[in-house]
Subunit: 136 residues, 2 copies
DNA sequence: GGTATAGCTTACGTCAACGTAAGGGCTGTG
DNA sequence: CACAGCCCTTACGTTGACGTAAGCTATACC
């Protein structure tokens, strides 16, 4: 077996893998969302960074700010934290979960409503088309 | 019956009703998301404005930009549009709907995962507590 | 008439999340 | 060694969605 060393990606590979720009990755590092190791001055992104980036991108799609995401990430990465900090993180995550559930419910409702509107739109379009045909 | 005239709200009432600032309402008017009528130079928000504002605020919670929302609003308000414009609006709304459905699915998945993490967090917290008790 | 209250306009300020430009370093290749 | 190709840092620019301050206006009340 080819020594499947705990593969790291350089910045270019990382960008291609996740459809982001180098600037974005460096920005996330500056904001302490990612912690690539260094080889000389070049960044090497680990498996851990890849897991975190996935979560970051997902969080963004749900409208969370990077700061909120940073706090959430802590939850996924607490091994030897202090108890109180851990509790705080747990609370934050619980709130976030409630947010997400609310958002999900509202989203489901909004989807229904929009579907209704689209049905209505189809009717209008169809009748407009008929009107046009009649005018020809 | 007290003449239930098609009640309009002034800017203050509107703000209180929807938890937004006057600046926000003026901003939305400038961006042509709302169309309050004028009494002198004062704005009066109609039932239509209230319906639109609800949709705007919801759209925002889903991470849509004001411009995207503006296009969507057209769908809820097309009476005498031209056919092509109407079609375009319909398309935009359809895309938006697809977005929302994707978002919903992803959200549901993320909720599950976060729940898992929280369960795990509970375990860590519980065991940390035991350790502390044992140390006392 | 004075002034408090509410609303208005104009315009500059702010914050997040990057974009983009400028200049420097390392490595390999002809 | 010259030059290309990547990567790096520093730092100013940009966009969206308002915040905020300054100064004007109209109505209400004393």
């Amino acid at each position: 077996m080819t020594d499947m060393t705990d593969m790291t990606l350089n910045i270019r590979e990382m960008c291609d893998a996740y459809q982001v720009t180098p600037r974005t990755l460096r920005f996330y590092e500056a904001k302490e969302l990612l912690f690539p190791i260094r080889e000389g001055q070049k960044r090497l992104f680990t498996k851990r960074d890849r897991a975190r980036l996935k979560l970051i991108l997902r969080g963004k799609r749900f409208g969370f700010s990077l700061e909120e995401i940073r706090q959430l990430l802590d939850l996924y990465h607490m091994g030897d934290q202090q108890h109180t900090q851990l509790l705080r993180t747990y609370e934050i995550a619980s709130e976030r979960l409630a947010d997400m559930e609310r958002q999900r419910d509202e989203l489901i409702e909004a989807i229904d409503e929009l579907k209704e509107q689209l049905k209505w739109g189809e009717k209008v379009i169809a009748s407009a088309k008929n009107g046009q045909e009649a005018a020809e």
